[in-house]
Subunit: 348 residues, 2 copies
């Protein structure tokens, strides 16, 4: 098996900021790392990882991990053993493990003459999977402009936790009075009382569907339970849900979880995290970082396991080198995708 990887800098249409970034200026470039695997039978697979500042990951930490991987220990025919080997190389490093896992599933599915979702035992239903379109932290004027630009998208996700939340929501409603809105606080509200006050304010808008990660991931279980018992809106865990291991804490503190492939180490980990959450009675959402169509399309293959999708990282960029699942006014579709097997992704 041969493993190659390369860094690629995704350019953002608008500078991007969320509460968890702290008081830094928004960034306009997001590096990702693409991985390709090829075995001697000329079976090949493509994957991607998107590192996160929040977890002290970068293209450099990904390169360091990927450089330590002995590709001979990876196999398209035994993905579980391949992942166990990667865990033995080093803990963490989920974006790198994610990139390799996606490439393994892509190759295995291609070899089997299946799409990635079929390979994973899932079905992708056309016309059924809508993703939100994200509006990052910004000034109210910029928010209003961005919401106008997003007129074709039926569901928006608004980042909150900045200094202008009230003005920003008012700006959204000026531009889009009847639009379904999800709200993501990215752990901005430091106490349960502040979180509840903000959620009660948000609940006055009847079209807000849920609130993601109101408090930091390290608050006490008692604080999570306190907030869940009082919240007038459903709460989704993001930073608090990394893998199936976090299910019991999330059942106590949330109504649903946001699963991202880069948090769970790829497609098989995300499938397990989604399945475990559903089995525990939690609603599920598939989310993303700023990512190219490789990661976004991988997420779309798991759509059958989700109640909500937030897979818009690629449409926020201007130089996506790949094309895969189509985002047609917020509806994901493989209808006009010519590549039939694996991830169904190809170079533009």
């Amino acid at each position: 098996m041969d493993l190659t990887f390369r860094r690629f800098d995704l350019q953002l249409r608008h500078a991007w900021a969320i509460a968890a970034d702290g008081p830094t200026a928004g960034k306009s470039i997001c590096p990702v790392v693409f991985v390709e695997l090829r075995d001697r039978h000329s079976c090949h697979g493509l994957g991607e990882g998107s590192p996160s500042n929040q977890y002290h990951e970068s293209a450099a930490t990904m390169a360091a991990f990927l450089g330590r991987v002995d590709a001979r220990r990876l196999s398209f025919t035994d993905i579980a053993a391949s992942m166990a080997y990667l865990d033995s190389v080093a803990p963490g490093n989920y974006p790198s493990k994610c990139a390799i896992n996606i490439a393994l599933v892509d190759g295995a599915a291609r070899a089997a003459g299946l799409s990635a979702c079929e390979y994973l035992g899932l079905k992708f239903e056309e016309s059924r999977h809508r993703t939100s379109f994200s509006i990052g932290l910004d000034s109210p004027d910029q928010i209003e402009r961005k919401v106008q630009e997003a007129a074709r998208y039926p569901i928006l996700k608004l980042k909150v936790g900045g200094p202008h939340d009230r003005e920003n929501l008012a700006a959204v409603r000026r531009a889009a009075p009847g639009k379904i809105l999800r709200v993501d606080a990215n752990a901005a509200w430091k106490t349960r009382e502040i979180a509840l006050e903000n959620i009660e304010w948000l609940a006055r808008d009847p079209l807000i569907e849920f609130v993601e990660q109101p408090m930091p991931a390290d608050v006490s279980l008692a604080d999570l339970e306190w907030l869940r018992a009082r919240s007038p809106l459903p709460l989704f865990a993001d930073e608090s849900y990394h893998s199936a291991r976090d299910v019991s804490r999330c059942v106590a503190g949330f109504h649903g979880v946001n699963v991202k492939l880069v948090k769970t180490g790829g497609l098989t980990g995300a499938r397990d995290a989604l399945t475990a959450a559903r089995a525990a009675g939690l609603k599920t959402m598939i989310g993303c970082m700023i990512e190219s169509s490789v990661l976004i399309t991988a997420g779309a293959h798991l759509a059958a396991l989700s109640d909500a999708l937030d897979l818009d990282g690629n449409v926020l960029t201007t130089n996506d080198p790949y094309e895969g699942v189509r985002n047609q006014d917020g509806v994901l579709s493989f209808r006009d995708v010519h590549e039939p097997f694996g991830l169904r992704v190809r170079l533009r």
Copy 2:
């Protein structure tokens, strides 16, 4: 037991037309009949029926049936026996049976100190149940104006099957490019080929969620199967689904069913029709006619059994004498409803 009933003429905000009405002018008044039941323990219940031209029902046929009911045979403590008695009075007459059934459930739930949904073993979840807002057949200009007026509603239901469908959809998209849309053909397309051609045209709009009742209810099973196998959009049965007895035909020809209380003879019949459809793998929708808040609120109590709601008949009227479940920008809510028991409806 004492039974009283009275006709009430609901005034429509806009004249209303659907394909099934044929080439008649839209109507601007819709008569409904309210039923009240009161027993000697001063337990009382309120219900409503909305008669449909399509099924040769009117306020007069309802009055004729209700006049034949021996109210001594009705009981808040045995609703099943009460309904069996009503079926023995005459077949059909579902709007009248619906009005009595709702009044029986209202009274029984009040007597038990429960809301109607609790009485039926269901839970109403706040912030989760969105209803569409319906746009009747009209000229493209009028459609555009109605869609602008409906800016606060996140999901629209467009009636099609008239002469201006293509211009009407274009008018909707001028006024609301990013809005989720459901389409209701009300049995307008007389052959499977015409239906498919229209559905394929609709499917080019990625935000159309499903199509209701493309063909007449009396087409052959083979035609239903033919269309279901080819349709690029999910199909919902309305005129083809009256009660749990129609499930097997609907499984063959549709992806989901629209259950209306006036079609099923009230709350308990609708509950059975929804449960049977889900058990057979069909998606479920709760729909309505032009109705006051009594019938709409009754439908809302069943929301837990639905995947989609179309409960907007009351907001299309200007003289609803009752208030019950709130429609806040298309989201149904009992939050500010002071009446705790039964239907949770009261006179305005």
